[in-house]
Each structure stands twice: as C-alpha cells, then as structure tokens.
Symmetry: C2
Subunit: 208 residues, 2 copies
DNA sequence: GTCTATATGCAGATAGAC
DNA sequence: GTCTATCTGCATATAGAC
C-alpha cells in the first residue's frame, strides 16, 4: 500500500544514503540515479549539480537545528534547562536521521568557496548557542567547570557522534537516549542538578 | 639545517596530510606524489597501491594506541586510574598527530573486504579496553552511571574529536588538555574522585 | 520529465628507459 | 630508484530526441 515517493524525494533520499555510506567523493552520480530508480538526466533536471545536492542536504539538516536552539534559548529559563533541551534536540535529530547528519557533519570539506563559507557560518552560529548557554551557566553558578569553551565543544562532538552508532533497535529508545545525554551533559558541566530535577515542559518539540 | 626526509617518509607524510584534508576519495595519487616532491612511479615503488598506503597509515596509528591501553590496564591499579590514563593517552595521541588519527577514524569506509575487517577488529579491541575498564569501575563502586556502555562510547567519541579542532597554539598545552579530558571523563562516569585526587606516576608514557 | 548517447577530463595503475 | 609516456576505465556534465 506504500506509494512510491515522487522522483525528487527518491533522489534526495538516495543521495543522503550514499553520501553517508561512501562519502561524497566516493559516490557517483550514476549510483544516486540508479538507487533512486531513475536516470542521470532526471537527477540533473531536479537537483542540479552534485554540489547543489550536497549543499541542499546540509542546509535543510543544519538549519532546523539552529532554529530549534534559538527557540530553546528564547523559551526556557535557566542555563541547565536550556542546555538540557538543546542537547536533547541535537541527540534526537542525530538519532532520527543519522545519515543526513553524518553528511552534514563530515562533508563540509567537499565544498569550496562561497557555499562552503555559508555552511560554516551556520555551523558556527549553532555552536555559539551552546557556548553562550554554558557561559551563562558558569556565570550564574549553575555550572562549575574549568575551560568551559573546550568542554562545551567536547560535549557538542559527543552528542554529534550519536549519528555514527545509534540504532532504534538497541537498548534505548530515542527519547530515553536524549534524556541520558542531557543528564550526562549536566554532569560534564559540573551542574548541581540532574536532568530529572529540572522542570521542562513535555513534550517539548522545537524541531520542524 | 633541516635535512629533507627520505622519499618514503615524505610520501607517507604527504598522504596523511591530504587524506586528512580532502579525504581518501578526494585525494589523487598525483597530488600525493607532487606534495612529496617526487613522482608517481616512486610512490608505487615505495608504498604500493593507494589502498596499501591507507591501510599502513591506519595500522601504524591505531596499533600503538591499542598497545598503550593494554599496558595501562596491566600496570595501573583501580578503574579510575586506568580510565584516566587511557583517556590521557588517547587525547594526547589525537592532539599530537591529528591528521593520522582523522584518517584512521573516518576513512574505514574507504576500505573493503579483509583489510577493512582487520582494521575494524583493531578498533573494536581498543574500544573493549575502555568498556572493560568502565564496567569494572561500575562493579566496584568507583563509578556511578546509568547505561555505562553507551556513555563509554560517547566518551570515546568525545576524546577522538580532539583531532578535529586542537591546535598547539590554543589556550591549553597538550598535557593540560589531556588532564582536563581525564577529569571530565571521571565526571561523566559519576566518579567520586577527580583527576587531581589520583595517584598516577608522572610522566606516564605508554605510547611508543 | 524522462530517455539514450556522448563530450571531456581525470582517476588508478603500469611499461620500460636510464 | 626515479623518470616520461601511456593504457584503460570511470567521473561529471550535457545534447537533443520523444
């Protein structure tokens, strides 16, 4: 009963899968067209060049995370609450669509020039939300950690790596995994509180 | 006064640099020969195929880490001491030669067949040292953490990511960075002790 | 919108002289 | 051991019919 998705969707899905598995440079455009059960010309008709396809995947993956972090910062009060929620959004996103996030997180080097710069701006703006949240937490005594900028970057990379191993069939459902990571993020920052102590509205969805 | 290294060394260095910057599939064998200031035939003469070169880089990068972890487990007493030291070795190695470690950690997918399997065996054996150490710490009460296997993997990836951003000109020297990561590893595992409380012989070098 | 056919260049790898 | 010259195939991208 499942309808076959329209061609542009199939192309995009195939590209995400192959870029994640074999890398951008390890994937041929014919591989993409073949997996999407269409032709090379169809790919160029719908998606433009191979680079265009990569940029599109990256943008539509990173941008919602950036907007979600923005919303968390504008909505929740308290650095512990904000950091927990940002971590949970990030882990959830990386668990629910690991392939698109692997591509976004590892293939920036395949781009060059202006388009590369634009993606890096997005990525840096996103990290800055994490950094600001932690800095405020250190300021107001919610967190107690040396070299907070370095530890925050370590935390971000720790959460990102979820996309490399998480499988929904494992010991934890994605919601539980997100909570676990938020709890460990607080431990990493030397917070007095734990995730389960916090008052956070549930369900809290800030991702489109 | 610095002598130019012999050709095989220059080739290896060039390959590590380029594989780290552009990825294995983004690097041409001519690029490697050119950067090493030699020729394509010389590359094949000394290094064999492009795949051989990658496998050699990976093996000589991962194997010392595995042996170091083995030595730590055989030499130091107590899970907190062992985990701290394993973390420090790992962070130090990833900071002192980020490029070789980036290649080893991200280009496994470029291999296939038996050689790929061999690298994965090494990598899994290495992770198992981390997992056993943490499991023993949970067992004897040194650590207090839910889902230790998942958190240990998260820790490992956090430490690995050092290779993506660490620069020796930054705010921390590599020894201090290693100590910081060891300390945060203990926090992540819910250890009562901190890195500065532990009795660990200094300098402790387990890497060749 | 989707197809077949093709232009153009670079990839990995090797031959054989010196 | 290092060189120049070359084989072979696949890469991205496009032309033009239907």
């Amino acid at each position: 009963m499942t309808e076959r998705p329209p061609t542009p969707v199939r192309l995009r899905t195939a590209a995400v899968e192959l870029f994640a598995e074999r890398g951008f440079n390890g994937t041929g455009i014919r591989d993409i067209a073949t997996r999407a059960e269409t032709t090379l010309s169809s790919l160029y008709h719908h998606c433009g060049s191979k680079d265009d396809l990569l940029v599109d995947i990256m943008f539509t993956t990173i941008e919602p995370l950036l907007r979600a972090a923005e919303k968390v910062r504008a909505t929740l009060a308290g650095p512990a609450e904000q950091l927990s929620m940002i971590v949970e959004q990030h882990v959830w996103a990386h668990g629910v669509d690991p392939q698109a996030n692997i591509v976004s997180d590892t293939e920036v080097r395949a781009l060059s020039g202006e388009r590369r710069d634009q993606i890096i701006v997005l990525r840096d703006a996103y990290e800055e939300f994490w950094q600001e949240t932690v800095a405020e937490g250190v300021q107001d005594g919610s967190f107690d950690v040396e070299h907070p900028r370095i530890v925050t970057r370590a935390l971000l990379e720790m959460c990102t790596s979820v996309s490399h191993w998480y499988r929904p069939t494992g010991e934890l459902a994605l919601d539980d995994l997100s909570h676990l990571y938020a709890d460990r993020a607080l431990a990493l920052m030397g917070a007095r509180s734990r995730r389960s102590d916090l008052q956070i509205p549930e369900p809290a969805h800030f991702l489109g």
